[in-house]
């Protein structure tokens, strides 16, 4: 075990105006004494506080998270102990959107309800907390996933790198921890990082370490034995850290190094997210030849005012003809680059498509109005910290995304686990629209399919629902196509203001909404609509919205129930189509071949096990809806530990 090196304090200078270092010394991971005092007063104060704040809290958007710029005195206020986990340590909030657990009546969850919530074919550890996916790669026939993991609890903390392997991105096998916080430079957390595969087969892993003084630095690690297909053991570079916060960069806003790519001068480049003047999100660029010595370039890859700290930056090329994934170093004509950032301030993953200039190492968005952080989202639901990698085996760009719980921390501690990863998605440029990417579950998921049921042109009249008899409805792969027919009796619609999904599935209009009710019970005491809502906008054009409405998803009062969604481009010759993966407490919904995606966390109390059903619904007033569906049952992926000790 290394003793702290006192001279490391000279690598950087803490900036005087940063209250996060000087003003909040008490904001350590376990403010035990303060916790006890605050907890005593909480019982008296929380109801008062909760009453006031409940009235001012917006129902459909999460309350903004306090971040490091919060006044130092906030630490002494009663709800400081409810500050979402992680914020004081310098990462984004890691607990659920409602920061005020205590005053919400906790539902009487039974063990059966909790057990049902565990997913059957999504990656999640056997227990405890997980967040960002890390260093995904393919090596010697195995896909590797690393992930932020707390080995001790179902809440964020003590962060290590968990490790799992799979032959097919679906059937995962748990392996021992890959990296643990055992040096001064990562003793407060082995945080997010990425892998770079060098020609010749060497793998380098760069990751953010939180030091013993809570400074964010970048460290290098590499496999102990490259010929081990399981890459069980990892070595940390003896002279870590290889990067420390440069002058002018806050020491706790400097993290999540990307996969590197080769530039025209033969040097590698990578980017690290940060911010300037607290509100300008940006991506710094470094060049290197050996991954131990780096040169910070002047300027940035890109910056966008008003977006705040950029976490988990991802930067990768896509082919304009949209047929195959590209190596991270690919470039030249026929290629655009995607720049993506996870916004610390809003907990949303945004991306934009643009052009990379490899000579100046800058990137320019195709559409500045939809720049990174102010335009498209990677996923319009509960989704964060996504990271892609190039699968050199099947020539795909694969995207991982972290899906946090939306129930309470208490629930997570009770059930003993929190968070899942999405099904990995293949990413392609959408050549038909030219303005977005397409995401689609990897084809290997089809190996889980059994028992398909087809429905041809089912008619759903306005204001009605149709049950779909498919057997159990908790593990499904649903393909649905919808056509509408305007009724003669349809009234001419008043031109609407922008709908944007927020009013949910009960907001009826002439042309919509219509779609599926997933995780519904027979009596419809609980249901989750996933639907389309075509809308006539004020200028006479038709805009179609794709939404998931959780407001009726559960009778439990202590889970978040958002409405998610967005408009989705629909081309003239296209029918409205959706693909929905249902896997217990996670639903992934894809519209128009993956043009817009929504991930939802659902915690029903009634619509579980054999009581879960699937319906079609049509809440429009003026159209008949005809639906054609193919629905597969999906078996479990039986994710289990790798049989190592035999």
């Amino acid at each position: 075990m290394d003793t702290p090196n006192p001279s490391h304090a000279t690598y950087y200078t803490p900036l005087p105006e940063q209250p996060s270092l000087d003003g909040i010394p008490a904001a350590r991971r376990r403010p035990l004494k303060g916790f006890v005092v605050i907890f005593a007063s909480i019982i008296f104060l929380v109801s008062l506080v909760g009453l006031i704040l409940n009235q001012s809290q917006e129902p459909s958007t999460p309350s903004p998270m306090p971040n490091n710029d919060h006044k130092p005195s906030s630490q002494n206020e009663p709800f400081s102990q409810q500050m979402p986990r992680g914020v004081a340590e310098g990462v984004s909030a890691k607990s659920n959107p409602s920061a005020f657990d205590e005053e919400k009546v906790s539902y009487n969850w039974t063990n059966a309800m909790f057990s049902w919530q565990r997913t059957a074919y999504h990656f999640q550890p056997e227990k405890n907390w997980m967040n960002d996916p890390d260093g995904p790669l393919f090596h010697m026939g195995w896909y590797h996933l690393f992930y932020q993991y707390n080995p001790d609890s179902a809440v964020w903390g003590n962060i290590t790198w968990g490790h799992a392997v799979s032959r097919d991105l679906i059937h995962w096998l748990y392996l021992p921890l890959a990296l643990v916080p055992d040096h001064w430079y990562d003793i407060n957390g082995v945080w997010t990082g990425s892998a770079t595969r060098l020609p010749g087969g060497q793998i380098v892993m760069l990751y953010t370490g939180d030091t013993d003084e809570s400074v964010q630095v970048q460290n290098l690690a590499y496999p102990a034995n490259l010929s081990d297909p399981l890459l069980l053991d990892w070595v940390k570079y003896e002279n870590n850290p290889v990067l420390v916060p440069p002058p002018g960069i806050e020491t706790d806003e400097y993290r999540d190094p990307t996969t590197a790519w080769v530039g025209p001068n033969g040097k590698w480049r990578l980017t690290i997210g940060s911010r300037h003047n607290t509100t300008i999100g940006m991506a710094l660029v470094y060049q290197t030849t050996n991954f131990t010595e780096f040169e910070l370039l002047e300027g940035v890859l890109h910056a966008v005012p008003g977006t705040g700290m950029w976490e988990c930056v991802d930067f990768y090329p896509v082919a304009i003809n949209g047929s195959v994934g590209l190596d991270t170093s690919a470039g030249g004509p026929g290629i655009k680059h995607v720049l993506k950032a996870s916004l610390d301030d809003t907990k949303i993953d945004h991306y934009a498509i643009g052009t990379y200039d490899p000579v100046n190492d800058t990137w320019t968005p195709d559409n500045p109005k939809e720049d990174v952080g102010i335009g498209l989202r990677v996923d319009y639901g509960r989704y964060y910290a996504s990271k892609s990698f190039f699968d050199q085996y099947k020539k795909r760009r694969i995207l991982w995304g972290w899906i946090n719980e939306t129930d309470t921390e208490t629930d997570d501690l009770d059930k003993g686990w929190a968070s899942v990863q999405t099904i990995p998605r293949a990413v392609l440029f959408d050549n038909k629209t030219g303005t977005n990417i397409l995401q689609w579950p990897v084809e290997e998921i089809e190996s889980l399919r059994y028992n398909s049921t087809e429905f041809e042109k089912i008619l759903i009249e306005p204001g009605s629902i149709v049950p779909l008899d498919i057997g159990t409805a908790t593990q499904l792969d649903i393909f649905a196509e919808f056509e509408t027919e305007l009724l003669a009796s349809a009234t001419e619609e008043e031109e609407e203001e922008a709908y944007n999904c927020s009013s949910g599935a009960v907001d009826r209009s002439t042309l919509g909404p219509f779609g599926l009710l997933v995780l519904a019970d027979d009596s419809l005491s609980e249901f989750t609509p996933v639907f389309f809502r075509p809308t006539n906008s004020t200028n006479g054009t038709l805009t179609t919205y794709f939404c998931a409405d959780e407001t009726r998803s559960s009778l439990a009062p202590d889970v978040a129930k958002q409405v998610y969604g967005s408009s989705v481009p629909v081309l003239d010759d296209e029918k409205l189509s959706m693909r929905v993966l249902v896997d217990h407490s996670i639903v992934e919904s894809f519209s128009q071949g993956g043009r817009r995606v929504i991930t939802s966390r659902i915690y029903p109390t009634e619509a579980i096990y054999g009581a879960a059903r699937l319906f079609l619904f049509n809440n429009a007033t003026g159209v008949n809806v005809t639906a054609t569906l193919k629905i597969w049952q999906l078996s479990s992926a039986f994710i289990h530990p790798f049989p190592l000790d035999q």
């Binding site: 026939g141 032959r167 297909p229 049989p643 035999q646």
Partner: protein, 181 residues
């Protein structure tokens, strides 16, 4: 006197010869016994014996040797089948069949390049769990290949796929004996 001496020598040679033959036979019998004993514990006894018996010699005189031999036989069969598939693709005139064959080629490439070599290496190192996982996985992929033909014309690979699947199961069973013993 000389005739008696000659006769005694003859008897001596005869007994020596017989003894040697007996010993030789005893060695072969031991090997055969081992093969027989092991193959009884696999799901395809006759196939197991037929495969292992001709190659049983001193290098396969223990269970690990038999397991390794069997795994290698699976690999040899898979490699040969891959070449066979590639040949079929070149000659194919039926697009549906060609698609199924292409799918099989992809699966077999994975088996020949990754699954089986890694399993055999793991076996050599005593990592029986890993070895079994790899060989079982290879069997699953071969199944997937065969399923790719359902609904189209008959599979030209049925016999080969079935054989490799059975040999894989035998290998896994032998490794299980190893792992327990």
């Amino acid at each position: 006197m000389q005739k008696t001496l000659a006769f005694l020598l003859f008897l001596l040679f005869l007994s020596l010869h017989l003894q040697l033959r007996c010993e030789a036979a005893a060695i072969n019998d031991d090997d055969d016994d081992l093969v027989e004993n092991i193959c009884k514990k696999t799901p395809f006894h006759d196939l197991c014996v037929a495969t292992l018996h001709p190659i049983s010699n001193s290098s396969t005189s223990n269970i690990k040797g038999l397991a390794t031999s069997m795994a290698n036989i699976v690999l040899v069969n898979a490699t040969d089948t891959l070449h066979y598939i590639e040949g079929l693709i070149k000659q194919s005139s039926d697009p549906k069949q060609e698609k199924a064959l292409a799918g099989c080629a992809e699966l077999y490439i994975s088996v020949v390049k990754y699954e089986l070599p890694q399993a055999i290496e793991a076996l050599g190192k005593g990592q029986y769990g890993f070895a079994n996982y790899g060989i079982s996985d290879a069997a699953k992929l071969v199944d997937q290949c065969e399923k790719g033909f359902s609904g189209t014309s008959e599979s030209p690979l049925s016999d080969r796929n079935k054989l490799i699947h059975s040999l894989s199961q035998i290998a896994v069973a032998i490794i299980n004996v190893l792992a327990k013993g």
